[in-house]
């Protein structure tokens, strides 16, 4: 079976989260591997969040501002 990575994304409400919404409105498609946590700003990102994500076995962490 092909490896399906588990990706956790932290998306800024005003930038990437909004971009992701607009990708939806435009019905673009992309791989269904990511799960999203909305934050208000990438400035909220704490190194511990990324470490925690790998600790629960994320294969990749994407931070989008």
């Amino acid at each position: 079976m092909q490896f399906e990575p588990r990706i956790l994304s932290f998306l800024c409400n005003w930038c990437c989260y909004a971009a992701a919404d607009s990708a939806g409105v435009a019905r673009f498609s992309y791989p269904p591997n990511n799960r999203v946590i909305r934050i208000m700003c990438t400035g909220r990102m704490d190194p511990q969040f990324v470490v925690e994500a790998f600790y629960v076995r994320a294969d990749g962490v994407f931070v989008g501002g």
Binding site: G24, D46, F62
Partner: protein, 172 residues
Amino acid sequence: MGECHYQSGNYEALVMAETVRRILDTVGINRERFTIDWASAAEGPRFVKLLTEFTEKIKTMGPLGEAEGLDWETLKFRLEAARNLCKNMQFRAQYGNLAKEIKKLGDYSPENISQAIEKKLVPQIRKRIFEAELKELIAQGPQAVEVLREKTGATEEEIGAILETLKKKEKK
């Protein structure tokens, strides 16, 4: 960049990102598993591109640990040390003060951030993570340096130095 809704929040994120990369280096996770990028509200297609590329990259890389040649037990052990590092008050203060210093000087170029972190944070990251790991390992009984190196990913010199300090502390 610089178009952040919150003025400078994303600059702070650059410092965070570089710190994370150094932590990943220390625990032996491929730093490419972490990425930070930007897309404005209007850039749906850009977001799609970024995420698709990232997913592809991770797909080629393979599962966490496996691709790094680390069994999950070892990786988990190291990540536990990293988790503690991230919650450690002294380390957080050092991290916060570094962010404050970079902000004051206003140079958010990747080179500058990388240099500052290399100088001020990396020694702390490595020392604290390895120290925590070694403490834990030694508590399980005497271990060969080879094993310690394998379990922690630290160099022989680093292990030596940390064991020294641990001994001193014990004596006190």
